[in-house]
Amino acid sequence: MLNTSSPADPAAAPDGAAIRMTGLRKSFGPIQAVRGVDLDIAPGEVVAFLGPNGAGKSTTIDMLLGLTRPDAGSVSVFGDSPVRAVQAGRVGAMLQGGALLPDVTVRELVGVFAALHRHPMPVQRAMELAGVTDIAGQKTTKLSGGQSQRVRYALALVPDPDLLVLDEPTVAMDVEVRRAFWASMREYTRSGRTVLFATHYLDEADAFADRVVVLANGVIVADGTGAQIKASVAGRTISAVIPGAGMDAVAGLPGVVSVEQQASRILLHCNDSDTALRAMLAGFPAAHDIEIAAGNLEDAFLELTAASRQESNR
């Protein structure tokens, strides 16, 4: 059903979604960074955007924040355009990299950022939440990588946003700071705020998000809870000698994600090894020397993204 007030943009329908992306595409010259992303995020969800470097996470986030215009498709934030949502102070974001404004102190920077929003939280509170009160008087140019990240977090918090977008927030943080950061974020989201954070650490996504969306080569390849993602990506590998079997035929078996030849053996990377094994034995009764191994989580994750890369090259 179309929203009559803006029929050209069905994504703007006021149905309560915090974020709605529909058919989002973006290319930079010949490189297709985002190749059709559809995603709905409900208010209050804490969602991890998981993917390797170059998966299109940052480009998607840029479009979500109104920093980049999509080539096709639409994105809405609380039923409004990203730019309008940002200007209304409903979105706070921690961008990846980039220096902070030079020649100012942390307090001044957070202060001026607060002043540039419609209904900011008190500067002191934002600095406390981000853990930067001890460095409030320091110049931004004198900060360590981890300290700069915390200042960026303070800048994301100070608009008092309903949606917090964090692009690889824990980069440059050491383990202890990282833990403190997530604790603080949890504290902040307890009040029902929506969070979308990008990461390339599966563990981080699993530990801190209610929902994990896996992005690879500009498309969503998996979407579910951390446990579901783990179950689907951390599949098992069947290894067997299968006389006379074509690779394509093996790859077409149910439950098989991808296959590879390793000397005389064929490796079947599965998301459902039980089904795959039954089908293999039924289809190739001559198969022998069968071994089944549980996949390594990171390897399986790479496998999943590699599979989508092959597909995109077709």
């Binding site: 924040l65 980039g98 030079p102 307090r107 002043a115 419609r118």
Partner: protein, 258 residues
């Protein structure tokens, strides 16, 4: 009252003013900026005032008054160009992306930056004029001082635009040399360091298309009580329009890159 407890203006105007004030404050914290745009012209003027005390130019204006306008213009041009050029640094370090995540609209950012460029010229202008009135023995009525100051200050508009053009066209690496060359080049060519009359003939012709020449011409003319010269106003307005068009182009191009 600290910035922490300062009331937060909710309107766009308040935000623009707040951002302009922060930018102005940070500009003054930059030591290199202060030396280049305030200390250098002031010192040069004091030196010249000492050398040429009591001498008159062909037009009857005292040499010191002539040089006072030159040095004030010199410092102000530096302040205006350097401030605008800092936009390149804010742009490339990613600060502008961060700024686009606020309620500050893009045109307010431009207005704030232009306002800052104009504001930071004031110390050079005022200090050189004070030096002129005291050490330089330049005697003018209060109205004359005000008119001259205002004429020079308004004549700086094309230079503020020029700074922003450099800021949007340049990169972090190129912006320093470009703004330095532009600043010194315009100052020398426009006759702020040596009178244009001492230039070779062809350079005199070149000088007469520079905005810096007409800025000083405007200032001296008002100071001498000859009123506002229409040619100077036309030339400065022309430069503002041309640079404004180039600036809009550079700005939209830079936006696509971000």
């Amino acid at each position: 009252m600290s910035t922490t407890t300062a009331p937060t203006p909710s309107g766009t105007v308040g935000m623009t003013v707040r951002y302009a004030l922060l930018s102005t404050r940070t500009a003054y914290r930059n030591v290199r900026f202060l030396v280049l745009t305030v200390a250098l012209p002031l010192l040069l003027f004091l030196l010249y005032a000492n050398l040429y005390q009591g001498q008159d130019t062909d037009t009857g204006l005292s040499v010191v008054a002539y040089l006072m306008v030159s040095m004030a213009s010199f410092g102000c041009i530096g302040a205006a160009i350097n401030t605008g050029a800092r936009v390149a640094i804010e742009r490339q370090t990613g600060w502008n992306r961060q700024l686009r995540l606020t309620a500050l609209p893009a045109n307010s950012y431009l207005i704030a930056k232009a306002a800052v460029s104009m504001l930071v010229t004031l110390p050079a202008l005022i200090l050189v004029f004070i030096a002129g009135a005291t050490v330089g023995d330049v005697h003018l009525s209060a109205t004359q001082w005000l008119d001259t100051g205002l004429a020079v200050w308004l004549g700086l508009i094309p230079f503020a635009v020029l700074g922003l053009v450099i800021g949007f066209a340049g990169t972090v690496d190129t912006v320093q040399p470009i703004s330095m060359i532009t600043y010194l080049g315009l100052s020398i060519l426009g006759g702020l360091w040596f009178p244009v009359e001492q230039f070779p003939t062809f350079l005199q012709e070149v000088a007469k298309v520079t905005p810096s020449y007409w800025l000083a011409d405007l200032g001296r003319s008002v100071l001498a009580g000859d009123g506002v010269p229409p040619t100077a106003v036309l030339m400065l307005a022309g430069w503002t329009i041309v640079l404004g068009v180039v600036g809009v182009f550079a700005y939209s191009r830079s936006g696509k890159k971000v």
